[in-house]
Symmetry: C2
Subunit: 287 residues, 2 copies
């Protein structure tokens, strides 16, 4: 059995968001000998990006990603401009943090200022995502920040992301920046793509173009009782994590394994140290 290098474990701070502030999470990761972190922008904002960056550097952590930019579709030009402005700020923050990538999700159907969906034009939303990533890419390249498109599960197509498969993400890269060394790549999150009949082929395709920027792990629970916040710990669900990791490695991925678990009824209710200890154990045993 091919066990993963424990040194490749990274923790997305959403996993312990209910327990800890960002400074607390940084200290805890150092305390548990975990060497990677991926924070969320709201947490970074609370600390101040400069302070957060200093704390992460002091703890010796690798920033495997910043979550997240995207949400491009909007019903009018002003809305799209506001999204782009916000995404540029995300690039600046990622640069300050020295993040290996800025995670980009597409956004769903266009929403008005109050958050209500105002269009059913899914193909149009997908065009807005392509245009938005294209515009952001220029800025991100200037800042030296790689953008990682993360396809989200089709159950989020309406409200969060209309890029729902690795094939779509690969197509976007083909169109906007075919070589992964040009600053546009993909974040593979098993939760979103494990079901895809073309998963292996699309990981290979991404790897062949040096697009594999990040690898996120957790598990799919049966039953899943909430569309958003019922992700499982590695080993507690049905995803063949070893198999998917083997595909990532065969495709050339050598980066860290970032644990990202939204879990309102289980892991967010436990002691943060217990969560991290379990992440370490399950990363070795079941990933």
């Amino acid at each position: 059995m091919n066990f993963p290098d424990p040194g490749l474990l990274s923790i997305n701070t959403a996993t312990v968001r209910a327990q800890w502030t960002l400074p607390e999470a940084i200290s805890a990761l150092a305390r548990h000998g975990i060497r990677g972190i991926s924070p969320w922008r709201d947490q970074v904002a609370k600390s101040g990006a400069k302070t957060a960056a200093q704390q992460i550097r002091d703890a010796g952590l690798t920033v495997t990603g910043l979550c997240r930019a995207g949400m491009f579709p909007a019903p009018d030009r002003n809305g799209r401009r506001a999204a782009l402005d916000d995404n540029r700020r995300a690039v600046d923050e990622a640069a300050m943090l020295g993040a290996q990538c800025l995670v980009v999700i597409g956004g769903g159907l266009p929403k008005d200022a109050r958050g209500a969906i105002v269009s059913k034009d899914l193909a149009g939303a997908r065009e807005m995502v392509r245009d938005g990533i294209g515009e952001l890419l220029d800025y991100a390249r200037g800042a030296g920040v790689p953008l990682a498109i993360e396809p989200l599960h089709p159950m989020y197509a309406a409200d969060r992301a209309c890029v729902n498969t690795l094939a779509q993400a690969n197509d976007l890269c083909d169109e906007l920046a075919p070589n992964g060394r040009e600053g546009l790549g993909i974040a593979v999150d098993v939760y979103h793509v494990w079901w895809d009949p073309h998963l292996k082929a699309q990981i290979e395709r991404a790897g062949a173009h040096d697009r594999l920027y990040a690898y996120h792990i957790c598990d799919w629970l049966v039953p899943t009782v909430d569309l958003l916040n019922d992700r499982g710990m590695m080993g507690d669900g049905v995803i063949d994590l070893r198999l998917i990791r083997s595909w990532m490695e065969a495709a050339g991925y050598r980066g860290m394994h970032e644990v990202e678990i939204f879990s309102a009824n289980n892991w967010w209710k436990r002691d943060g140290d217990e969560v991290l200890i379990t992440c370490k154990l399950r990363h070795e045993q079941a990933s």
Copy 2:
């Protein structure tokens, strides 16, 4: 605007399952001038298939489908044999009802006798589905019952169906019975496939081979609060139903439009007549 022919409305009895028995539903459909029905096997069993068939004939209803066969994967030969036996009974019932098709869903990962998933081999499960459909097809052809593969949303891949896209369903047909007149086709349910970037192309592909056996409608709600029983009435969600119908029609589909809504917190709590009246209205206005 191209409005649908009201005479093409069919009701999947799951839509009023909380309110009515099958005989009550049959009477109600006749009372409301609705001309199509698609019952579930457990309801048919309660009436007895022969009685149910007679009642449906007496009411002059077209049976747009029988729900459902499938669930092929099992951890051993006995389990797969039991599934096949049950599926053959479903074929017999569909024949007795004069159903236009028997809806077939794949089944998820293999489960033991108590319903616990015992394997993470998704590719293997997909092979079992292919083999199972192949075996069932022989029997179904003998009985004159067309099998309609219904891809289910990727969020059901683990526990209900590992055939999750129209492309997979088309691939299965290509392999097992390329010409739709040979008794193997596809049921297109907008709830499961609306998000698919290749939806239009795969509907065209299915149509080109005479595989479009059934068309199921409802809507995707935002937010969706339950993975199984929170489907929306046409017009209450984000699916561009007119657009998808136009693709079905362009691909040659001339069958009925079957409303299938699982709705624990809304439509199942309302008066059954109100539900049917709303289905009629929304079929015309928003489908």
